[in-house]
Every structure is written in C-alpha cells, then in structure tokens.
Symmetry: C2
Subunit: 239 residues, 2 copies
Amino acid sequence: MFKGIKMAKKDKCTTECMAKMNELVSTLNEKQKDIISQEITLHQYKKNEVIYRYGDTPKYIYCLLSGKIKVYKEGVGGRNQIIRVAKPVEYFGYRAYFANGKFITAAATLEPSCIAKIPLDTIKDLILENAELGWFFIRTLCQELGRSDQRTVNLTQKHIRGRLAESLLFLKERYGVEADGYTLSIYLSREDLANLSNMTTSNAIRTLSLFAADKLVLVDGRKIKIIDEERLRQISRLG
Amino acid sequence: MFKGIKMAKKDKCTTECMAKMNELVSTLNEKQKDIISQEITLHQYKKNEVIYRYGDTPKYIYCLLSGKIKVYKEGVGGRNQIIRVAKPVEYFGYRAYFANGKFITAAATLEPSCIAKIPLDTIKDLILENAELGWFFIRTLCQELGRSDQRTVNLTQKHIRGRLAESLLFLKERYGVEADGYTLSIYLSREDLANLSNMTTSNAIRTLSLFAADKLVLVDGRKIKIIDEERLRQISRLG
DNA sequence: TTAAACATATGTTATGCAGCACAAAATTAC
DNA sequence: GTAATTTTGTGCTGCATAACATATGTTTAA
C-alpha cells in the first residue's frame, strides 16, 4: 500500500526529525504524533535562500533543524530590518497565520539549513485539541514579544556604538561562541550586521573598526571575537 | 456562609464585568466561569495612574473594561517609549508571567479607567485545561507581535513627519473618531504623542503645527481632527 | 586568466533632528 | 485671585549619522 511505502521511505528522516522537535512533540499523544509524522516534510536550503516572502499566504510552520535563518522586513529605500534570527530547534513563519493575515515579513537562510514544514491547518487543529501544545506556543510567543519590545527601545534610543554593541552581545547570547570561548558562532556580512543594528552598512563597518581599534573585539573577515565583553556591555547600556 | 455573602456583594458588578469579557469568557464552561467570577476583582484608576512598574513581579492579568491605558518602557535619559496602547475590552500585563520573567515595561492609564484583575496562576491553570482559551491568547499574542514588528520598522526607518503621520493614523485605527467623523477619540499630551512616535516633545509640537499649517489636521488643544487622511497616509508611506 | 560582481574599508559632505533656551498659555495649587 | 507649575510653542546651534564617492580586497563566473 502506497502510504506504507511512503512512510517507510520517510521513516528514518522523519524519526530523526521528530526527535529533534522533542520540546513540541513531547506534548503530543501517540495519535497526534502520527498525524505530524504523516504531514511533516523535510527541506534543504542553500545559503541566502529565501524561505518565504512578504505578502505570501502562510501555509506551513517552519522548524529550523540545522543552520541559521533571519526574519526581516523590507524598509524604506530597500533598507532591510532584521526582525529576529532563529537557531535550531526553533519555529517560525506561523505568526501571520494565527493572526489571520498574510506575511508582513520575509525569511531567508543565513547558512545552509535543514527545515521541516508542517501544514498550519494541522497545527491549529492540534492546538485546539491539546492545551499543552497551545501552552507551548503561548510561552514561545511571549518570549518573542518581550524580545521585540526590548529591541524597539534599543534600536530607537541608542546611538550607533550602543546599537552595534547590543547586537554583538545579542548574537553571542543567541548563537554562542566557538571552542575558543570568544569567536561568535555566526558569520554575518557587514550588511546583515547593519540591518540587525539599524544603521547603514558603511557605519557598521566603520563602527566595528573602531571597536577593533579600541580592543573591544578582534575582527578577521566575518569572524568576530568578543574580547572585552564588560566594556561592550557598558557601551550598550549608556546608549 | 461567608463565601455566599462575598459572592452576593460582588454579584452585580461581577456579572456585568464577565459580560464585557465575553470574548474570553465564552470559551469557558460553567465551572471555569465560576472560578473566574470568584477570583476576579474590580478596580478604579484615576487619570495617569501607574498600574504596574518595571521590575515588578507579574501576578494578575489586567482586563481594561473602560478607559485607555499605555504600556511603555523607560528609555535612555528618561525618554519613555510607548510600546502599545489598549482599549476596552483588551488584556495586558500577562506577557512577562507567561515568559517566566518580571515586567520589563510599565503601564499607566491615559484617562480614568476601570480594570478587572484575575490571578495569573488561575489563568494558567485554565489555559492548560481549556485549549480554546489557549487559542484565544495565541491569536491575541500573534496580533500584538505583528503590530510590534510593524512598529519597529516604522519607528526606526521613517523620518519625523512619517512617524507622526503613522502615529495619528494608528490612533485613529485603534481608538476611532468621535461623532463628527474626524476628531480622534483620544486626547494625548504632546509628550505622549512624542513618546508614541519616537521623537522629542518639541518636535512633536513643531511637526503637528506643520501638519496643521498644511491643512492635514486641525488642532485645538489636545483635540486633533484628521482632515486629509489620504495625504497623511502618503507621508507615512514615503517615510 | 581576466573580467565582473560583490564585500569591505575610509574619507567627505549634507542634513535631520536632538538639545538647549526662552516665552506664552493653560492648568493647578494655595 | 494670585502665584506656582505644567504644558505648549518657537527659534537657534551643534552633532550624529545618512548619503555619496572612491579605493581595495575577494569571490564568482566565463
């Protein structure tokens, strides 16, 4: 029977993928787990590949299994604003569906990524029959909203140095550092760094150079080592 | 029996209040409604009264039954940033609790307001046993998050005129207009208007005067009539 | 291998807006 | 009813940062 074959083909990948999604899957009963594993699909994305676009109709929830992605908004004059970044295993692309609208953001990979997709209609049905799953999304959304509130003030009220310092600390907290304990585990282009910090690319480059000259960071291409976290924190605080 | 008396005393107000909260209450069964009506308390706030403060531990969900409130964040150098505003019947003050943290914002009334309080422990319990209630919060949070994303770009990328235009349209959409069809149904101080639009009070005053000179709005103290909505929309779009 | 496209770097200019200072008007307090 | 305080209004100055120009290094493509 076709379904059996399809399942068999999927099985190894799907099982692995469901294991990674444990935080969500653990709220489900066996029947619900089955439904998800029937509906879930896996996708490979290259670096800088667009996942969804502004204006699209949301149909799937995306689960980032490996890699890194950005959610961004096209601003005035082609200037993009990075709204949030995700790491494994986090979910994205579902907000607009739950709010009953189209996408007001776009999403793209920052590095090669593996992403699982589940139809949102299915997720909605599951939420309505499983309060614990709903609770998972409520907690997640509340954390997102807190971060968003925080970012609004940071981006609007701090000066350039403060905004960049804030972004570097944000990236460290979000993605961590490599084995040496200093190098940020994410290699952003200066443009993405600028879009994250609400400034022009020129100013991101300039200010990062100044930080390097002040021995706050050590820059080697896209590798950034955070040397003096304490002073970066000061700069971020004082605006 | 004491509980009975307590109930009896509360009954009229509570019933009225529960009726207003229909969007939430309608998701509950009788037993759950009883729990809420036992725990709910009503409070009157004067104009410009603080409801909760930065750093406080969230204990109650607040339901605005009448009046208007702002949720704001203290920024650099005493400059406040209004994060969102609520109208009847909307809920606030629960985000931090669900995200397991303290308040990172403060809230205050913009006019005399009547506010119901329900312990968040109770709400959490109800969400965990009532998926439909959870769904209500998910929808609400997703709308909030969308507004927040939108605001981030507006506040960071638009010029002063664009930001003020945006704020005026935002207020119209959020609070509506009076019987004449033009006068905004909210009387904000210039300072609050500035804090909503990410600018200094001086610039809010100045720019509003310019709008008045350009016949886009008609200003009489804190009363603002929106005359030329189309052009305001243009100004807002173009930054 | 060369060219083309892109990313990074840095200096210069232009300007939008914050930060004053001060005055007038309106509200509140006594 | 007068003083005190807050809110509103306007002009001026300086600075932060966007915008532009240009150069160099680096990856991609033909």
